[in-house]
Each structure stands twice: as structure tokens, then as C-alpha cells.
């Protein structure tokens, strides 16, 4: 049942499910989203620089300024 073609023009509100009484985006939930987003992101950032990139930039450097190496 994918009639997405017609709907894609208008990101219709009518496609949304009937809302529960609580608003979805409470400050608490917003905080949680931010925290998990940063967890996910910093998890990768903390892996540091994989060897392939150190090596790549070393080669580029050497290529560029042959006298220095």
C-alpha cells in the first residue's frame, strides 16, 4: 500500500496518525534526543583518526613538499 507518489507533493498532515493527548515534543524528550544524538556522534568522533587518513595525508604532504621529507 504505497500511494506515496500522490502525497509527495504535500507532506500532508492528514497522513499523520491521530495524536495522543500529550504533545510529542516535551522538553524532556527534546533533551533525550539531544543526548542520544551526541552519544552517537561523539562515539564516532572518539575513535580518532584511522591510520588510512594519517597515511594519506602523510603521502600528500610528502608529494607536495618533497624537500621537507
Amino acid at each position: 500500500m504505497t500511494d506515496g507518489k500522490q502525497e509527495s507533493k504535500r507532506p500532508a498532515n492528514r497522513a499523520r496518525r491521530p495524536q495522543s493527548k500529550k504533545p510529542a515534543l516535551t522538553p524532556e524528550i527534546q533533551k533525550q534526543i539531544g543526548r542520544q544524538l551526541r552519544n552517537l556522534y561523539t562515539g564516532v568522533v572518539q575513535e580518532g583518526v584511522p591510520d588510512r587518513f594519517t597515511e594519506l595525508l602523510r603521502r600528500l604532504d610528502a608529494q607536495d613538499t618533497p624537500k621537507d621529507s
Binding site: 506515496g4 499523520r16 496518525r17 524528550i29 542520544q36 588510512r52
Partner: protein, 174 residues
């Protein structure tokens, strides 16, 4: 200087591609491009933002190419997800990642740059080549949609049927 930017470039690239391998290839391409086009970088402007812009543009052109080959690009994104590192082994986070993957690419990148990397709306707008207001509304819609998905997943009594899930993941093709 470039080397210091690599961790953030990787994090951004993984959020775009959903695959560590593709992300690392994208970062490599970005570094090469930055290296050979360094003269087009304007001193005094944000160097990281410049690199993010290159990476995003490379991803976009690649993505368009792939999209022609593979119709269901969202499906493709989520199929890569299991290959992401399981450094947290945390169900909550896994759920969050799945929800994030269901966001439209425009909303996801805006949310990641602002909410995870901590760039300003202005910098993000510059990277994505659109107005600041557009970024603000994308970030808002992304948050709202995530909240809905996470709430729905957490409450079994009104769990989503397949159709709702499909609508949620595709109704904002703007």
C-alpha cells in the same frame, strides 16, 4: 589542520551514508578534494564548515547517482545500519539510531550538524546551501518526528501498524 577535522568528518559522513565503509571512502575523497582545491578556501572563514560542505556535496552527487540505480534509497540506508559500530550495546541507542535512519536526508543532516556537531544554524545553512529559516524548520521537524517515532515505539498499546510506519518514514519528501 586537516587531520584534526577527520573525526568530525567521519561522524558526519556516517550519519549521511549509514555505513562506516562508505563514510570512510567519502572522507578520503573529501580530503583529496580539499587538498587539491585548497586555494579556493577563503582564509578567515570556517575551515571545518568548508570541509563539511565539500563532503556533503560529494555525498549529494554520489547519492543522486545511486538513487537512479536503486529506487528505495531509504531502504538502502537502513540496510547498512547493522554495520555501524556497536560501541554502546544499548537498546535505547539502537532504537534511536533506527529512528534517525528513517528521517528524510535533509532533516537528518540538519539535525546532526546542529544537534550533534553543535554547529550554528548559520553555519549549517551555509553548508547545506539554504536559508537559515529552512534549517530551523528542518531541525524542528526532525525532532518532532523522532519524538513521535520514539514515543510510538515505546508504547505498545498504540504501536504503529506497518502502514503508519511507512507514512512516517516517507511523508516529508520536500
Amino acid at each position: 589542520m586537516i587531520l584534526a577535522a577527520v573525526p568530525r568528518l567521519r561522524a558526519f559522513a556516517i550519519s549521511l551514508t549509514g555505513s562506516v565503509d562508505r563514510a570512510d571512502d567519502l572522507v578520503q575523497e573529501t580530503l583529496l578534494r580539499a587538498w587539491t582545491h585548497f586555494d579556493s578556501f577563503q582564509t578567515g572563514t570556517n575551515f571545518n564548515a568548508w570541509l563539511f560542505t565539500i563532503l556533503r556535496n560529494l555525498f549529494r552527487s554520489d547519492y543522486r547517482k545511486r538513487k537512479r540505480e536503486v529506487e528505495d534509497s531509504d531502504g538502502m540506508y537502513s540496510q547498512f545500519l547493522p554495520s555501524l559500530p556497536e560501541q554502546f550495546g544499548n537498546i535505547e541507542l539502537a532504537e534511536f539510531r533506527t529512528a534517525l535512519a528513517k528521517l528524510p536526508p535533509d532533516q537528518r543532516e540538519a539535525l546532526v550538524l546542529v544537534g550533534a556537531d553543535g554547529l550554528s544554524y548559520e553555519e549549517t545553512a551555509q553548508i547545506c546551501g539554504c536559508a537559515v529559516g529552512t534549517i530551523k524548520s528542518r531541525v524542528n521537524r526532525a525532532r518532532t518526528r523522532l519524538a513521535k517515532m520514539l514515543l510510538i515505539d515505546g508504547a505498545e498499546d498504540f504501536g504503529p501498524d506497518a502502514e503508519t510506519a511507512a507514512v512516517l518514514s516517507r511523508d516529508a519528501v520536500d
